[in-house]
């Protein structure tokens, strides 16, 4: 991955920065440029907003067969988390044994290494989730 591709997403990946529609007030994570509710009325009115990212597991899977970048991590848990702020995001659950994860489990975000570009390449950081 070219460095700018990850770099430009850093606010969201490091600090859970999403957006809030200046027209209707609805919040989005990941960030959006246009509010799907307000359409053109939202253009230019989307403001950055920070999410806490605490929430619960909507669904999950334990990955045994992974892409090359993640093959050292298997088995790992991937989940869809519903934040208390109403939005949903996909991420890994860590500090949790695969057999202990369940739908409805409370989690909070954690700042972790996401991946790297080979042994001497850039290391990517971002959010994962851990039991709360």
């Amino acid at each position: 991955m070219a460095i700018p591709r990850f770099w430009r997403e850093i606010p969201s990946r490091y600090n859970l920065i999403g957006t809030e529609c200046g027209n209707c007030g609805k919040r989005y994570f990941p960030p959006r440029i246009i509010c799907p509710e307000c359409h053109r009325k939202s253009v230019g009115k989307m403001k950055d907003v920070k999410f806490q990212g605490k929430g619960e597991v909507v669904t999950y899977s334990i990955i045994h067969h992974a892409p090359k970048a993640y093959e050292m991590q298997v088995p790992y848990i991937i989940a869809i988390i519903e934040f208390e702020e109403g939005v949903r995001a996909t991420g890994q659950i860590i500090d949790c044994e695969p057999e202990d994860v369940e739908v409805g489990m409370r989690v909070e975000p954690a700042f972790r290494k996401i991946g790297e570009d080979g042994k001497s390449g850039v290391i990517y950081y971002g959010y994962k989730f851990k039991p709360a």
Binding site: E9, P30, V58, T59, Y60, S61, I62, I63, H64, H65, A66, P67, K68, A69, Y70, E71, Q73, P75, Y76, I78, A79, I80, R88, A89, T90, G91, Q92, P98, V103, I114, G115, Y124, G126, K128
Partner: protein
């Protein structure tokens, strides 16, 4: 809009076709279809090819003129266009061709679908499949394509009590059908026990809950219905097509257990065709994972939401039961050359409606449906075919 008919069908065998290149399989399927339709090369007005990712699978973009060239029609300056919509690429190519004929822009059109997936490593091929989800907000965190479908399955189990056995029954049924299909990748039956004991890929989905990586191509020839009898004794009418989209990422969908794009696309297709789900005799649905078939048969409207697993377990989707679902063996057992899928589904439905499906023939079939999905449901296209013309 004028009525459109399918007058020719062709397909290659699906599987690990190591001795054949992309252009060779594309040509093979196309020639079969053209020969079947008894059209001549110079009559063809246009070619549309569904293909998901030749650029990554074989480092070759611009594949539509490549196939047109090697099928011998470059000298005729045949217009050739590639259509991409992830797993729905083939179905979208068919709909573009259908609209071109229906709108009187073209008369005779060839639709192809092709993918060559085994020229890259299995791990890399899975990464390419995952790129049809949201790369920046799903795949980058380690959500594999199987993992995303596994999360649909987990939630379906949570909400409706769907069981791993019910998921496995999809694979068992589709392998049973594929055993009767000479062009299928897996022409052998699977026991329920084998499916349930398979190594896990993404829990709760095991190896046999997942469709394979395949090479293969399929093709159709379309023409206006009122000219179809010039070419064939048994034309099949395209009764309708319905396409719908949805949020790109699974986490943004209204309901993880429902593919809204399937619901909307099917409703459009049924409305335009003037029939209901009860009128459909057979359906080729997008079973890239076993859970996908369960969602499909619910969201198209064959069964109520939540009943898909039980209906499958009870044999209501088996060959010549209430509704024959995936008589070809589906993506699961017939094989999954991604861009070919939507076209191959149509080839099977037309073959069935002509009464030429041999041992796996659905009896007294008049209406057939195809359901083709891109990504985890951000693109869906449904076609309905009528054999009663």
């Amino acid at each position: 809009m004028r009525e459109v008919a399918v007058i020719g069908i062709g397909e290659t065998r699906f599987g690990e076709l190591w001795d054949k290149s992309f252009r060779e399989i594309g040509i093979e399927a196309g020639l079969f279809a053209i020969q079947d339709s008894k059209t001549k090369g110079e009559e063809i007005d246009a070619l549309y090819i569904g293909n998901m990712s030749a650029g990554r699978f074989i480092d070759q973009e611009h594949i539509a003129p490549l196939v047109a060239d090697y099928v011998g029609l470059a000298g005729a300056n045949l217009p050739a266009t590639r259509i991409e919509g992830a797993g729905a690429s083939g179905g979208l190519a068919l709909s573009q061709a259908y609209m071109a004929v229906a709108s009187e822009v073209h008369d005779i059109v060839v639709v192809g679908g092709a993918e060559k997936m085994t020229d890259v490593s299995e791990v890399y091929a899975q990464e390419i499949l995952a790129s049809t989800a949201d790369q920046e907000w799903e795949s980058v965190f380690g959500a594999t394509f199987a993992g995303l479908h596994a999360m649909i399955a987990r939630r379906h189990m949570h909400e409706y009590g769907t069981t791993k056995k019910q998921l496995a029954m999809v694979a068992v049924k589709n392998h049973k059908n594929a055993a009767l299909n000479p062009n299928a990748q897996y022409r052998r039956e699977l026991s329920l026990e084998t499916v349930l004991k398979a190594p896990m890929v993404a829990e709760p989905l095991g190896l046999f809950d997942c469709a394979p990586l395949s090479d293969g191509a399929a093709a159709l020839v379309l023409c206006p219905l009122d000219r179809a009898k010039e070419y064939t004794d048994n034309p099949v009418r395209i009764a309708s097509c319905g396409q719908a989209g949805d949020y790109m990422a699974l986490h943004d969908r209204k309901d993880i257990c429902t593919m809204d794009a399937t619901v909307v696309a099917a409703k459009k297709a049924f409305k335009y065709a003037g029939i209901t789900p009860k009128d459909v005799d057979l359906a080729e649905v997008h079973d890239n994972y076993t859970i996908s078939e369960i969602l499909a048969i619910e969201d198209i409207g064959f069964f109520n939401k939540g009943d898909g697993g039980k209906a499958t377990e009870d044999g209501q989707t088996a060959l010549n039961s209430e509704i024959s679902v995936n008589p070809s063996g589906g993506l699961k057992a017939r094989g999954q050359p991604v861009g070919a899928t939507g076209v191959a589904q149509a080839v099977e439905v037309v073959r069935q409606l002509r009464g030429e499906a041999g041992e796996r023939q659905v009896k007294n079939a008049r209406y057939g449906l195809t359901h083709n999905v891109g990504g985890t449901g951000a693109s869906v296209i449904v076609h309905i075919f009528d054999g009663g013309v």
